[in-house]
């Protein structure tokens, strides 16, 4: 259970993260802030993604890296297989709607996990899984304003400030996003708390074509108040919209997935 409490969060986080990647639609006319966000939301629905990635937690005195494969279909289905390190290899998580299961290879058993495990702090970062998942409700819960253009990572970006609506149950007081005008890549995002203090910064780099789309293959998350702390997420491979049958996302398949 210990390993799972730490790891289970990853794959739901990834679902949200992959959603962020889906900004990469070319839009002819200059869109409004709402349109950019809406595009991302629409993109996320009904698509499938297959990815292999590497996640590293970096601290001043140590670092740990984990490698995994994920499959997702819309926001309903997700499967994650840990491929490294050796200690956790073969561990699988399956999400169907709001149910989550964990395959423990050593005892060859499927354990159903409580939904509250999703609210856990994620791999030592200040983010909880819920915070990241709520990112997908950016459209619904926030009002967005376009604040002109700025250059981030050598790319011209729209700067969008998002403020939560009054009744929205979100943890952030403000979110500022820099979205590339050419490929609609989310180059940088700053998350502020309710006192307008910066909490986390997401920075994208390593832009290349993967799965037929221009994407940022590397995302770094840096907490504002902790020097030398960083979380890195890097894509090794990425495929979009490849047909995955619903039957792939079953407890039966958890034992076989490779």
């Amino acid at each position: 259970m210990k390993t799972s409490t730490r790891i289970v969060l990853i794959f739901v986080v990834l679902l949200a993260f992959i959603g962020i990647q889906s900004f990469t639609t070319r839009v002819q006319d200059e869109p409004t802030a709402e349109q950019v966000i809406k595009k991302a939301q629409d993109k996320m629905q009904g698509t499938t993604t297959k990815a292999e990635m590497k996640i590293s937690i970096i601290r001043p005195k140590w670092s740990r890296t984990m490698q995994l494969k994920t499959w997702s279909k819309g926001t309903t289905y997700g499967m994650t297989l840990i491929t490294a390190p050796a200690r956790d290899k073969g561990t699988v998580f399956l999400k169907r709607g709001n149910e989550v299961w964990n395959w423990v290879p050593t005892v060859e058993r499927i354990i159903k996990l409580p939904p509250s495990m999703m609210g856990q702090s994620w791999m030592g970062t200040d983010l909880t899984n819920d915070d990241l998942v709520k990112e997908s409700s950016m459209e619904k819960d926030f009002t967005h304003t376009l604040n002109g253009k700025e250059t981030v990572g050598g790319r011209t970006c729209y700067k969008i400030t998002s403020i939560p609506k009054e009744d929205a149950a979100v943890v952030w007081g403000k979110v500022i996003s820099w979205i590339d005008t050419k490929d609609y890549l989310q180059m940088k995002t700053e998350f502020y708390d309710e006192d307008e203090e910066l909490v986390n910064t997401f920075t994208a780099s390593g832009i290349k074509v993967m799965g037929g789309k221009t994407v940022a293959s590397l995302v770094e998350i840096v907490p504002a108040d902790k020097t030398g702390h960083k979380t890195k997420m890097e894509y090794i491979s990425l495929t979009f919209n490849e047909s995955i049958d619903d039957s792939f996302f079953t407890t039966q398949n958890m034992k076989k997935v490779k």
Binding site: I57, T65, P115
Partner: protein, 388 residues
């Protein structure tokens, strides 16, 4: 089976599963993994006598994927025991040597009062599967549990929570056939071969998911009883809610009727610890406090699904979580309420490097005698594990 036949049988099994080919394709389809563990323990008994025990442990798991959806598995457990514990635990080597399965795959190849070297094969199977079917023959782990800690539904492999160092748990010599259905759900049949026919286990289980709950219904023969049970796993808001119940009705005079049921709630508190609370009721429970020590990992005996605890009413409470990404702390406690016994197990796990883990585990059995709480048996374990 006589001891002299064993190497031949082993060779045959390995040959059958791994086919003896060493082509490039073989390398691609062949995987292995495992770990090395060094475990140091100091125990103290009810009279205050301390004993030291050392265990060096190696495990290797092989898998070979073949044509036509066949997969073979072989898992070996090599252990070397030394330390003063062995001087007092006379016959421990012989106890390890005993393999309760149909085929004897357990060898104490060095067995003297100062040192025991022991090898056991606890998994060796051949699996075939497609979209609808999954068939496995050989020594395997058949897990029929939905609940955590106590599994009255688990007719094939019983788990002893206190035996934390045997993370894979023993296997059964069995055949298992599972049929999956289109709308989800499955029907499973398993037959456990045993040396004595009266020990055999065969049962059917139907599993399905309804209203976000996993359900299972099972029925069959468990040794000299007819057994029937149900199990579930679902959620109540943010908490997990799981449980199992099994009824055992004797077919012969030498067996006893039994009913066991257990239910569990587990939850992760807001950015806080993981909490689990479980209860077990067992009609066969006795009031003998000393039997609580059957749970000690070195007691060697396997638990019986009809006696998951030696007493009637038990509760399990667990709290733990990550203190940092490298450090986990946990405290588990079992209360044998009706006999006034408690089992405590605090543990700390620290990741020294990638794949190198350090664990410090305490175990204490305490009981009430003459209106006083006293130590029945306690131990501290220090373990270092390298996974590959």
């Amino acid at each position: 089976m006589s001891g002299s036949n064993r190497p031949a049988v082993l060779f045959l099994l390995v040959w059958l599963i791994f086919g003896g080919t060493a082509s490039a394709q073989f390398k691609e389809n062949f995987t292995y993994r495992g770990y090395f563990k060094d475990l140091r323990a100091v125990s103290i008994d009810a009279n205050g006598n301390t004993l030291q025990q050392n265990l060096f442990h190696h495990r290797i798991n092989f898998r070979y994927s073949m044509k036509h959806n066949f997969v073979g598995g072989l898992e070996l457990r090599n252990r070397a025991f030394y330390g003063e514990f062995l001087k007092y635990a006379k016959g421990y080597g012989d106890q390890l040597e005993y393999d309760p399965g149909l085929v004897d795959l357990s060898w104490s190849w060095i067995n003297n009062p100062a040192f025991i070297a022991h090898t056991a094969i606890d998994r060796v199977w051949l699996n075939w599967s497609n979209d609808k079917w999954d068939v496995r023959l050989g020594r395997q782990r058949i897990n029929w549990g939905q609940n955590l800690v106590w599994n009255p539904n688990d007719l094939f492999n019983v788990l002893n929570y206190a035996d934390f160092d045997y993370e894979e748990r023993p296997g059964s010599d069995a055949v298992k056939v599972e049929r999956y259905f289109k709308k989800g759900g499955s029907l499973q049949m398993a037959y456990k071969f045993t040396e004595k026919p009266e020990d055999r286990v065969m049962a059917l289980m139907y599993r399905f998911n309804k209203k976000n709950y996993d359900f299972q219904i099972l029925a069959g023969q468990y040794q000299q009883d007819v057994a029937a049970g149900v199990g579930w796993a679902g959620n109540i808001k943010g908490a997990g809610f799981k449980g199992e119940a099994t009824w055992f009705e004797p077919m012969t005079d030498s067996s006893e009727q039994a009913f066991l049921t257990s239910a569990t709630i587990d939850i992760v508190l807001d950015k806080g610890p993981y909490i689990m609370i479980s209860g077990l009721f067992n009609t066969l429970g006795t009031s003998d406090l000393s039997k609580l020590l059957q749970l000690t990992p070195t007691a060697g005996g396997r638990l019986d699904v009809k006696r998951l605890m030696p007493n009637k009413y038990s509760v399990f409470v667990n709290g733990g979580g990550a203190i940092s990404p490298l450090l986990n702390a946990n405290l588990a406690a079992i209360g044998a309420i009706d006999i006034g016994g408690i089992f405590l197990m605090p543990s700390i796990d620290y990741s020294l490097k990638t794949n190198l883990d350090l664990s410090l585990v305490g175990q204490s059995f305490v009981g009430q005698a003459d209106n006083k709480w006293q130590n029945l048996s306690s131990a501290v374990f220090l373990r270092i594990k390298w996974s590959y």
